[in-house]
Each structure stands twice: as structure tokens, then as C-alpha cells.
Symmetry: C2
Subunit: 340 residues, 2 copies
DNA sequence: TAATTTTATGTTACCGGTAACCGAAAGCGC
DNA sequence: GCGCTTTCGGTTACCGGTAACATAAAATTA
């Protein structure tokens, strides 16, 4: 591998001069610079980041810890994040926790040994706080994305789960629905809690009773989750007065498994029952917008998250904690219908 | 930041002993090992990969160069790749070229300076060969994924575009279609060429004429591509005898923009026209399988690609070039119908 | 018990850069 | 022509590990 020493020898200067040319630091005579640049080109030299980071104490690398990039919501976050990072000269290491705190721990280890300059993370649960503290102990700033965790002090970038939830339920009520079930994600994830809060408060504000068995909890991610089937069946078996006329699915994946379950029961959406959810259902939305959703600006979340992170890394605006909460866009489409 | 020197001091041994404990190399007395491990735990030491890679000449990091992880096909590849890499102790740096060779060059530079041990790449076009050569010059193995490029010598992992294409067209012909249009990706991408070859040969084998204006080329990625509209309009303006009764879209994104274009023309699928495409249209397929597609095992492609790459990195099986071509699954669904 | 081998640990140098310091050459004022 | 300031470039040491070699202590053998 070509090093600055090879360049130095070829250009007949000291390695330090080569370093100076590369980093545009210090005073270098034009003729010397040209000699060195010629040698660099001829030998195809590329600086060794590892060596550089050893003295500079920064790697120009950021860690991205998400639950699953094959989930369109997260892949958009990842894309926005990567774009923002590259624009200002950072690399991105990616990882997928699958909502599993064991995996999360391992990835944090990986990020630590890679000496990333910062981490953008969608924590698996409140227990993640310990892991983030571990980063802190090593002076690695972390910015939370999509989810908060109790006790975390620092920046975060979120979609407004509460507000989106309120508007979705408001819309259903507006359409004449009174029996609205919520199929939520796990309550140890903040977005699930917020969506439930929005759901409950909106019902209350509209003087609608809350039925205990209207609320259930499943995994946020498994599209083919078997338990959705039984949850939906139970809801549909309630007597006519109590049977929900609308289901609020806490995210797009849950919505899809709900659709599947309803289909198996021979029910049609929206004729027999309305369905709303969080997050866009891509890419069908482009030619056949079907779901009434609260669409979150995922790519924007990723972009802002990285911007915040880099500001922390580079010690700008260290004075305050910033909490950006981006409102979702409510798109009323064909999965909801007005009650007669 | 805690180093082995801090550990050494605390445990009252030499740094080398600490290194040996960490790497399980050499002979260490049990009591010494325990002393050192205690110190490591107490100080929360994590090895510095950069320093390590400086002597070992490997970073345990792989580069993943794809066109766009927010495209479900590539995000699945990325997921499969990341999983396979982590399983054997490698990290993954990700990047998105957007089919842009400029960006590709920059990312190759990034990978070079990061001294990744290997690169898994979906090249933007045949011109990418120069970039891959640049990696070679630095002794960094590259494995191609999804696409081949002319003149490349090495491993690659592909979906069988030719075979998938043949089967899709075969299916359309079987359903009685005679006028089949192809809306292809750019011909400087191998998958587009292969899909066109499959299309042409299948027509020929069935003694169907090829109309020049049945074949058009657009971008592989922009869902909202304006030019799809005009292409579809032109096809639909052909006189009744020549007007295509089926469109073969070269990938899922093109299919979606075709659907949109057809919709704007007031045409229904499959009543007025049939549509087939490459790649699954996720995640709707789980509750409402609509498109007749040639589904590629994306995650599997990523996984195998990384396996091949790591074997190259670790110098196993260096003797031969391996070319894995995974067959797509043809799913006949509702976007195609039998001609009367 | 002395010689020899094995085990356990330390010392030194190096990986590829860069910060900090230093000195020669060139420019400048008088 | 002499002293002073800039400009330009070199030397040295260090970042945090590890390979290679060296050596002390313990175990084995003669």
C-alpha cells in the first residue's frame, strides 16, 4: 500500500511536506506542491483514515442504529441520514437491531470499537438508556431518532405521534365512527405510548367510552405476524353494538397484517370496516393511494438527525438540548369511509 | 479515552500482556488474565480498531455500494448483506450512488481511504470497471451484485434477468398477448440488456414480430418519472392493430409509474391492458397481491454477495471466479389477464 | 543439582499519519 | 552588509495497538 513515505521519496521531500500538501496546511512553495501532487497522482495514493484518526482522534464516521432498514420507513431515514452525512464528509456505518436489545448492545460495542464520532439511534426500548450512557462515557454523542426514552438528555428528532394519532382518530370520529380499536406496537417504545395517548385523549375529548378490549399490542415489524389474525378475529367477534367499525393500526406493517387478517375473514375495507395507520405504505401510494395515513417525513428525520449529530460532534450549539418534532401529514384516502 | 496503557498500569502489567489477554494469544497465567480482565471491566475499555488496523492491515469493514437503499429491492439486499457481515464480525459502510458515476467515484474514494477490506457493489454502468480496477490496484477485492459489467473478472451474484424475462413474456404470450411492449431501464445496465434479450428471444421463439417502437428506455428509479407518461401515451396512440395489450416493465418502479400513467389515461389493469414487471412490489403484496412479477431473492443476493466477498478477503477459494445466478420466482397475479 | 526446556511477561520497533518544534533560506529595512 | 522577520521544509515524538525478539521464572530432565 502506498504511503506518504513513498510519495516523499518519489518527490524528494520529507513525509511531513507531503502531509502538508494533502491537508493544505502550512506554507508550501508552488513548485514543491506540484512535485508532490504529481507523485500522489502517479502512485495513486489515498490517505489512510485509520492512521489519521489515530492522531486526530476523529474517524469522520457516524453510526446509524435502526431497527430494520428493509422497513421502508427506516430505509428512508437511512437514506436521508446518509445523504446528509456524505455532504459534509462523513461516512456511515449501518446496523439493524430488529428491536432486540441484545443486538443493540453488540452494535454499540461495534460503534465504540470503530470509534465513530457520533451515533444516530432509534432505541429499542427504555432500557437502551444504559447503552447510550456507555457511548457518553466514551465521549460519543448520540442523537435519538423516531423514539424517545425515559431519562435521556440530549437532542432528538421525532415524528409527532401524539398529534398524528389525534388527527387520525379525529378523522374517524368525524366520519361517524364511535367504535374505534387500536392495534398498537409494544408499549416499551415511546411512539406506541404516544399514539395510544393521542387515541385515548381524542376519545375522551369526544365523550366516547374506551373499551378495554379495543386496545391491543403487537410487534411493530413482522408483516406476517400470526397474532394479528387472532386479535382481529376477537375484535370482530364482539357483539354488533361493540364491534369496532374502524381500526387504528399503529404503523404501516401492522396495517398490512390487519388488512390480511380482515381479508381472511372475508371483510372488505372500507365497506365493512375502516382502517387508518401511521406511516406511508410505499410504493403503491404513487399509483393507487389507498390507505388513510399519518405520513411521517422519514427522510427529513434522518437528515435533521445527522445534522444535529454533527453539530454535537463538532461542538457547535452544545449549550442546549434540541427536540425537533415534525408533524405528520394526514392523507385521507380510500381505506376510511363515512358511517351512515 | 482508555487505552491498553491505562489497563496495563492499573493491572500492573505491560501493555503487551493486556494485548495478549484481549486477543487470547500467547500464554497468560490465569491470575494475570483475571487481573487484566478486571481492569478492563472497571475502566470500560474498548479496543481501538483504528490502531489495530494499522498493524494488522485489515479493518474488518466492508463497503456496500448500491444505487439507493430506499428502493425496497436494494434495502433488502443491504439487509441481507449486513446480516451476513455482522455474523462473521465485519462492519458495513453504506452508500447510495443514485446510478450516478460521479457519486460512485467519490464513494470508491471513501472506501479506499477507509481501507475497507472489500466492496460489494452494484455498478452504475460499464464505466464502473475503472473504479473497480482502482480497488484492485489497492488490493481490495470487489464482488458485483445485481449487475455485471463488461470486462470484469471476479465473483458476481445476480438474479437471472434473462430467464425471468423469458418467463414473464412467455406467460403473456400464453395468455394470448401478441403485442407486448417493453419499458426498459437504461441499456448501459446489464440487467436491462438481459431483460431485453429475454424479451426479444421469447418473441422470436414464438414467431412474434418485434416492433421497434415497442421498446423504450427510461430511468430505473424515479417513480414519478414524467417521461413514462409520454411513453405510455405514445404506445396507446398506436392504431388498434398495433396497440400493445401488455406492458413489460423492467422493474417495480417502472411498473408503478406505468400504472400511474395508465390511470391518467383512464385505462384499467388488467381489463384494458396487462402489466408485468421485475421485482416484488412490497409491502402490499402481503395483503393484496396484485402484480404479476418476477420476484428476485434480494436478501439472499446480499447475503451470498457478502459471503463471497469475505471468502475473497480472507483468501479462501481464490482459485476460481464464481458466478451465482439466482432464478426469480414468477408470481402470476391480478395484473395480467387472458385475451379472448 | 545443574542443564534444558517451557511458560509467562517485558522491551523495542513499527504501522501511517500529524502536532510541535526547529533551522535554513529568502525577503526586508536601514 | 548586518540583523530581523517570513517562508519553507525537515526532525522528532506520539497516537494505540501488535509482531518479533528478549528474558526471567518455573517446570522438566539428566
Amino acid at each position: 500500500m502506498v504511503t506518504i513515505y513513498d510519495i516523499a521519496k518519489k518527490a524528494n521531500v520529507s513525509p511531513m511536506t507531503v502531509s502538508r500538501v494533502i491537508n493544505n496546511s502550512g506554507n508550501i512553495r508552488l513548485t514543491t506542491r506540484e512535485k508532490v501532487e504529481k507523485a500522489i497522482k502517479e502512485l495513486g495514493y489515498v490517505p489512510n483514515s485509520a492512521a489519521r484518526s489515530l492522531t486526530s482522534n476523529q474517524t469522520k464516521t457516524l453510526g446509524l442504529i435502526l431497527t430494520d432498514i428493509s422497513n421502508p420507513f427506516f430505509s428512508k431515514i437511512a437514506r436521508g441520514a446518509e445523504d446528509a452525512a456524505v455532504e459534509v464528509g462523513y461516512r456511515v456505518l449501518m446496523s439493524n437491531t430488529d428491536e432486540d436489545s441484545e443486538k443493540e448492545i453488540n452494535y454499540i460495542d461495534m460503534m465504540l470499537s470503530a470509534r465513530v464520532d457520533g451515533v444516530l439511534i432509534a432505541p429499542t426500548s427504555d432500557k437502551s438508556l444504559d447503552q447510550i450512557k456507555r457511548l457518553r462515557d466514551h465521549n460519543i454523542p448520540a442523537v435519538l431518532i423516531d423514539r424517545t426514552i425515559e431519562g435521556f438528555m440530549g437532542d432528538y428528532v421525532l415524528g409527532d405521534s401524539y398529534e398524528g394519532s389525534r388527527k387520525l382518530v379525529e378523522h374517524l370520529i368525524d366520519y361517524g365512527h364511535r367504535n374505534i380499536a387500536l392495534i398498537n406496537g409494544p408499549s416499551n417504545v415511546s411512539t406506541a405510548r404516544e399514539r395510544q395517548r393521542g387515541y385515548l385523549e381524542t376519545l375522551k375529548l369526544n365523550d366516547l367510552p374506551v373499551h378495554e378490549n379495543y386496545i391491543s399490542e403487537i410487534d411493530f415489524k413482522s408483516v406476517q405476524a400470526g397474532n394479528t389474525q387472532s386479535i382481529v378475529e376477537q375484535l370482530m367477534q364482539l357483539n354488533e353494538k361493540k364491534r369496532p367499525t374502524a381500526i387504528f393500526a399503529a404503523n404501516n406493517f401492522i396495517a398490512i397484517s390487519v388488512m390480511k387478517a380482515l381479508k381472511e375473514l372475508g371483510l372488505h375495507v372500507p365497506e365493512d370496516i375502516s382502517v387508518v395507520c401511521f406511516d406511508e405504505v410505499e410504493p403503491v401510494v404513487y399509483f393507487d393511494p389507498f390507505f388513510t395515513v399519518a405520513a411521517q417525513p422519514a427522510s427529513e428525520l434522518g437528515r435533521i438527525g445527522i445534522q444535529f449529530l454533527i453539530e454535537r460532534v463538532e461542538q457547535k450549539n452544545v449549550d442546549q438540548e434540541r427536540k425537533i418534532i415534525l408533524p405528520p401529514d394526514i392523507h385521507i384516502r380510500k381505506s376510511t369511509r363515512r358511517m351512515k
